[in-house]
């Protein structure tokens, strides 16, 4: 008597799909998947516990490494939550800069997702083209922030530094290049027989199932439900911008691919509109003194030669924190208890120095009122929410991140069961699981 048993296959934590570490234990009947058990937590880096041990301003590098392909969106989310808790508002120009950097991050995230999933299906050239486009954007990001990937550019009350003078021209050139790459990728993939057959009708999830699992982001929009935090709950200056939210209908892999490609185009549109609408930058220097390097000002102040220092302007090494008075008003909120003072004040007079010390010394720093607040931001994968509980002291009491791909991974077995083993690869690629965000 022959007996049929199903086979347990372990798609182990370290696997070629370069999305991150996750373990899927599959029960197979021949090639058909009968059951999937997903085990995560292989990249648990205790983000929430680490945030409780450091001051508020020191949490930003930890937030960078949550969703590491779109790091600025995490930074912006944390900063917006904290600003809601503190009850402060930031200048217009800083809002526009945050939106520009968020949308650049969103484009890099979608480029990485579509590129990596195309590579897993065999389209190696598309991966190389998309990484080339990602490099262009990373060069843009590096021009302002100094780093390519983990940037920590956003500060509480604004951003770290203003845009460089050539940024707008460079950005228009790079955006044109990225558009060319998107057109090339579209030509290579969209009507490609192999790509189409492997993605159409695979990994289907219905809208009711998606809502029951509280899935958000491109995964939900591909099923036809129009929920985008930027439209439902506009933050920063999204209500002044004109953009569309692409929707799918079938909820399969192909629709998710189309939604991501269309969202990239919309993000590039948003960036161009921001450049046209952004308010003017640094105030004209109405200081009558000369421009001196920061180190010189420190030295002369230490030696007591402070005559005339109040009118001098400081040129700052870009690696130092804070900013000079010329840029200060346009990129930082006007709140002494939260934002580092302008460098001319820090080095030139004692009030500025004391202000700086009170924000930086251990035991002092930003002290929000006792309370709790939740703020959702549209991450590249869905609704990224930060929940901060403050007890009135300088360390956060509890920082909770609602990761967008957590419910998606919980809903993944529904997409996979009943399909074939080989469908795992495109479906998992279209989920865009980022382990840093899933496991925190």
């Amino acid at each position: 008597m022959t007996q049929t048993r199903s086979m347990l296959l372990n798609v182990g934590p370290s696997h070629p799909a370069m999305h991150g570490v996750i373990r899927m234990i599959m029960e197979l009947d021949g090639e058909k998947i009968k059951n999937v058990d997903i085990e995560m937590g292989y990249l648990h880096r205790a983000f929430e516990k680490m945030c409780e041990t450091v001051m508020y301003a020191q949490c930003f590098p930890y937030t960078d490494r949550l969703n590491y392909v779109s790091p600025l969106i995490n930074n912006v989310g944390f900063a917006l939550t904290l600003e809601k808790l503190l009850g402060i508002d930031i200048p217009e120009r800083a809002k526009y800069i945050r939106v520009i950097m968020s949308e650049i991050s969103r484009v890099t995230d979608h480029l990485t997702c579509v590129g990596a999933s195309a590579m897993e299906l065999g389209a190696m050239s598309v991966f190389l083209y998309m990484i080339k486009a990602r490099e262009f954007l990373w060069e843009l990001v590096e021009e302002i922030t100094g780093a390519r990937l983990t940037i920590s550019y956003v500060r509480i009350g604004g951003v770290k530094a203003d845009l460089t003078p050539n940024f707008v021209d460079n950005a228009f050139k790079k955006i044109a290049e990225v558009r060319k790459v998107l057109i090339e990728a579209d030509e290579l993939l969209t009507r490609n027989r192999i790509f189409f057959d492997r993605m159409k009708g695979i990994g289907i999830i219905s809208a009711e199932d998606a809502i029951a699992h509280s899935v958000t982001g491109p995964f939900l929009r591909a099923t036809g439900v129009a929920y985008d935090v930027r439209k439902a709950n506009p933050y920063l200056i999204y209500d002044k911008l004109d953009f569309e939210v692409p929707l799918g209908s079938a909820g399969d892999n192909l629709d998710r691919y189309f939604v991501r490609m269309a969202e990239m185009e919309q993000s590039l549109r948003i960036i161009e509109q921001c450049f046209l609408q952004i308010p003017d930058g640094p105030i004209a220097a109405d200081l009558t003194g000369e421009v001196i390097p920061a180190a010189e000002m420190v030295d002369s102040a230490k030696m007591g030669q402070t005559a005339g220092l109040i009118e001098d302007e400081v040129s700052l090494d870009p690696t130092l924190q804070g900013s000079t008075r010329k840029y200060y008003e346009s990129i930082s909120a006007d709140k002494k208890s939260v934002v580092l003072p302008a460098k001319e004040n820090t080095y030139g007079n004692i009030e500025g120095l004391m202000n700086h010390f009170k924000l930086v010394m251990y035991g002092h720093g930003i002290k929000p009122p006792v309370g709790e607040v939740y703020f959702p931001v549209e991450g590249a994968n869905g609704e990224l929410g930060f929940y901060i509980v403050s007890d009135g002291r300088d360390h956060p009491w509890r920082v909770r991140v609602h990761p967008p791909c957590f419910p998606i991974m919980a809903a993944l077995p529904k997409c996979l069961i009943g399909g074939m083993m080989a469908d795992l690869v495109p479906t998992f690629g279209s989920v865009n699981m980022i382990a840093g965000e899933l496991d925190r």
């Binding site: 995560m40 937590g41 929430e48 516990k49 809601k84 699992h213 509280s214 929940y387 919980a410």
Partner: protein
């Protein structure tokens, strides 16, 4: 009427306190009435909270250096969102240290499954009626619950390799 006012009107006995700090409507309710309130939130047409956005817990041991005394050590925090009406509400449920059990919301929202597993893993709060309460972020051999305030941040329990 805002969702908070509707909940207050329906469940006056179950609510301990409400507040609306920075515009976030919050209600603190008794643990016994969690399922009733959740059902009300989901099934009333004017509220229609079909998204269980987030489930987490907070440990209030030695809150604010001991200056603010909370009655219970843990508090479960639920964030709900309604797609149709575009409103949110937060429900908090205090949990006593000696009786770390709360009803599961898995029967109403399927997404509660993994969120509650994470709360069990990190805080040690059990859920009555949960189908599969196992650790999700840490490994099964891990002893203790990591996000509690009395677990030191760098106490490691390595599976292989030296103790560090």
């Amino acid at each position: 009427m805002s969702p908070l006012e509707k909940v207050q009107e329906q469940f006056t006995a179950a609510i301990i306190e409400t507040h609306s700090f920075r515009g976030d409507e919050t209600a603190v309710i008794r643990p016994e009435s969690l399922l009733a309130v959740a059902k009300f939130l989901k099934e009333t047409p004017e509220l229609d909270f079909n998204f269980l956005m987030d489930v987490t817990a907070v440990d209030y041991l030695f809150f604010a250096g001991g200056r603010i005394q909370k009655e219970f050590r843990f508090e479960m925090v639920y964030h709900f969102f309604s797609l149709k009406h575009n409103h949110r509400i937060r429900i908090k449920v205090p949990v006593d240290e000696k009786n770390l059990e709360v009803d599961t919301l898995n029967s109403l929202w399927v997404s509660a499954d993994w969120y509650e597993r994470e709360v069990w893993d990190m805080f040690g709060i059990k859920f009555k009626g949960h189908p599969n309460l196992k650790r999700i972020l840490m490994y099964e051999e891990f002893v203790g619950h990591a996000l509690r305030k009395d677990y030191p941040v760098n106490k490691r329990q390595p599976l292989i390799g030296p103790q560090n």
